[in-house]
């Protein structure tokens, strides 16, 4: 059974194929409006989420399919102590494909090992979030027309930011990528990702605490939120949450064709005034996320022989 647990489960050719299908869906929505008629997506969200769950659900409806939804751990059998394995086996009897978000790292992998239908990881703790990465890649593709030869800055929480880890992993397979890591000392990219992903793939990278210093080099600026839910200690969260706030002033030295991305939700790390700047791409990213999830659902259902 084909699943998407980690962005590395997809080859670069498959990512390009998903981007091409998503582009076709944007151009010809009617062609896909009934393609999943009679099929059911189960969205199992054991951690709060608005946009990712709605994005998956909107994606399935736009493909003509239906949705079964669990939107919190408290309203499911997990509250009674059911294991992820049993949940996956049970839901396999009702649905054709699962999108799972879970606070524990590796839960979607466990689900995929026990499910008879495809499982998509919709975010597992601070670990991976591959469909956000697909949304990011589609956005970069649509804004820049390429996934190679880009200088990409990641700013904010690079330690717990799963979207950052997944996107770095995905970009490290393309040529001419330079990565700039901008974060406070306490929230630096984990050293194993620096070594096993960046250094292992020969990716040039640079770490700094100063966003302004590196701003002029960037083609892409990927902003992140310091996430309260990733901290065991409230004091650490409060100390670090306002480390980087992007304001119009800070963009003065940025390239005219910079693309500003953010996986959302934002708290205050991007000033609302920047929303009007043509370089702000984060709401386009939300829309792109829906289309690329449509392409992914279609691909996995086809490969499972369901369509």
């Amino acid at each position: 059974m084909r699943n998407l647990i980690d962005i590395k489960d997809l080859s670069t050719e498959e990512i390009e194929e998903l981007i091409a299908v998503a582009e076709d869906m944007i151009a010809n929505p009617k062609k896909y409006a009934e393609i999943c008629h009679g099929k059911k997506l189960a969205t199992l969200f054991f951690e709060p989420s608005t946009r990712t769950r709605l994005s998956f659900e909107a994606a399935m409806y736009e493909l003509g399919g239906n949705v079964l939804s669990v939107s919190s751990a408290g309203s499911s059998s997990a509250a009674k102590g059911e294991s992820v394995a049993d949940t996956a086996k049970t839901v396999s009897c009702y649905a054709d494909i699962i999108a799972m978000r879970h606070p524990k790292e590796g839960a979607p992998l466990v689900a995929s090992m026990n499910s008879t239908i495809p499982v998509i990881n919709a975010g597992d703790g601070g670990h991976n979030h591959p469909t956000q990465t697909l949304a990011d890649l589609l956005t970069i593709w649509r804004e820049k027309g390429r996934l190679e030869n880009l200088t990409v800055g990641f700013c904010g929480d690079l330690k717990f930011g799963r979207t950052v880890h997944s996107l770095i992993s995905a970009l490290s397979r393309y040529s001419g990528i330079k990565i700039v890591l901008i974060s406070p000392e306490e929230l630096k990219l984990p050293s194993y990702i620096q070594k096993d992903v960046l250094a292992a793939n020969g990716i040039e990278f640079h770490q700094t605490t100063d966003l302004l210093e590196v701003m002029p080099q960037l083609d892409i600026l990927y902003m992140t939120r310091v996430q309260r839910e990733r901290f065991f200690n409230e004091e650490d969260y409060l100390r670090l949450k306002d480390s980087y706030i992007l304001t119009p002033d800070k963009l003065k030295t940025a390239k005219a064709d910079l693309s500003i991305l953010h996986p959302l939700p934002r708290v205050n790390e991007i000033a609302v005034a920047i929303d009007e700047d043509p370089r702000a791409c984060y709401f386009k990213q939300v829309l792109n996320g829906k289309y690329v999830r449509m392409a992914l659902i279609l691909k996995l259902l086809k490969e499972a022989g369901t369509l």
Binding site: V84, P103, G106, L109, V110, D124, G126, Y192
Partner: protein, 141 residues
């Protein structure tokens, strides 16, 4: 130093000096009723010094655990007083139930029935990572 020869059992040889006690504990040899010898700091042409463990019982041995602790050891299998196999131990590609993931965010921290599985991600550096959360196994575990 005289130690009786083994009738049925194992000789774990070429253990780097200092790792013998750790292996002894991890293999649970302290719980056995049979004769077990841990010989430390034996002279070795290859290693300079080495540790040796002799077990006089045909117990079930976890070779993956031995490979994880020290991939260069050899295990001599003795039956009826004869050497029947000289088993070279390699670094296992995956280990199950040998070490535990210590990441409190890992699914294994809440799902007690789930086997703790680690895969070898860097053979040169001897690094294993949890298959669920990718946390690096600590060698001290």
């Amino acid at each position: 130093m005289n130690i009786d020869s083994i009738r049925n059992g194992f000789v774990i040889d070429h253990i780097p000096a200092g790792l013998g006690m750790r292996l002894y504990q991890l293999l649970g040899l302290d719980t056995l009723d049979c004769s077990v010898a841990l010989i430390r700091n034996v002279g070795s042409k290859k290693l300079g010094k080495k540790d040796i463990i002799k077990i006089d019982a045909a117990i079930a041995i976890n070779f993956d655990l031995i490979g994880y602790v020290s991939p260069d050891v050899t295990v001599n299998i003795i039956r009826d007083g004869q050497l029947v196999e000289k088993k070279a131990i390699a670094l296992p590609k995956e280990i199950t139930g040998v070490i535990r993931c210590k990441n409190p965010r890992c699914i294994t921290s809440t799902e007690q029935e789930l086997a703790h599985r680690f895969k070898l991600t860097d053979p040169e550096q001897h690094i294993y990572r949890c298959i669920y959360c990718e946390t690096k196994a600590s060698y001290d575990e």
